[in-house]
Symmetry: C2
Subunit: 190 residues, 2 copies
């Protein structure tokens, strides 16, 4: 299955992919174009226990081709070729941008909708660790802004947003939840 990561430059796309794959964070280098790679995701749910019996993970492995689309405007043309159906999209932005960050998601969402209207989209806000206490409280507003602007307005030309995650690729907070979500979505369609 294709996992496509989009968003403006510097939002944490490449770092997020590395965090999910369990790889070291990439060096701060501007990567251009598109970087396609593979990711074999084993069932990330922690095996539960039944009495003395430890239950092992039972879900099948999922094979992803991951597409890291550099967010520089010069590359939008290349990107168009990669927006395809049957793809799980992660639209990534930096939470420290506040409400402005939400507005910036619009072109990505409408492009995905135009190319592949039935796609599943996961919104991922990064830099959770870098939010001030005040900004952390504002996450409620962020939530309702997303809801108002992209989810209930779905008729207006946005794809189906299946979930929203707030993560830190530095402290790894909520990365596991995101991973489980990706896994479940992939399993549900393959």
């Amino acid at each position: 299955m294709k996992l496509m990561v989009v968003g403006l430059q510097g939002q944490g796309k490449t770092t997020l992919l590395a965090a999910l794959k369990g790889e070291p964070p990439p060096r701060d280098e501007e990567i251009t174009g598109v970087h396609i790679d593979e990711w074999l995701l084993s069932d990330p749910s922690k095996g539960g226990s039944l009495g003395f019996l430890r239950v092992k993970n039972v879900g099948p492995d999922v094979y992803f081709s991951t597409y890291d689309l550099a967010g520089q405007p010069e590359y939008y043309v290349i990107h168009q070729c990669f927006l395809t159906p049957n793809t799980l999209y992660m639209v990534v932005w930096d939470l420290t941008l506040g409400e402005e960050g939400i507005d910036q998601l619009e072109p990505w969402l409408s492009n995905i909708h135009a190319r592949a209207p039935d796609s599943m989209v996961i919104l991922v806000g990064t830099h959770l660790d870098a939010l001030s206490l005040q900004k952390r409280k504002d996450l409620e507003n962020i939530n309702s802004k997303i809801l108002k602007q992209y989810i209930t307005k779905k008729s207006k030309g946005f794809p189906q947003i299946i979930s929203v995650h707030y993560v830190s690729c530095t402290t790894m907070v909520n990365i596991d939840d995101l991973k489980k979500d990706i896994y479940q979505r992939a399993i549900s369609v393959t």
Copy 2:
């Protein structure tokens, strides 16, 4: 037009692409998967002069999508999807490997032939600067080995090798000639 760069890991593929594009050499980092980028190549022939008149470059610009296919065996499966017709291939190897380097080209050439038999292939030997004086003399043997093994045996299932270049991405020796060659080939088919 697509410009596909293939060859084993560590042969200088990524460095060569940067040299051609006039970008700084990449840091020594193992890049996995496929990195797709753009390259706008202006006519690299130096404008001649007609009396007092400097003749400007007259050829049109050529737009390439460059495909840097990381050479790790794990990625051969991904690569298969990228070997397509209407593509200019550069098969890259490290000249310091001597005759052994020539043998290693075989799988790349037969894969290209199997997928896209009418492709144009340019062979590029890198690390010219790192050759000892003795090895530099051996280049004659390298030439005839290439000829015997891949060019006159074309019927045996290799694609059309249109030229062979020996370059250094460190001193930039022969990079301009390679660039001109790429340009001319692209012009001739577009």
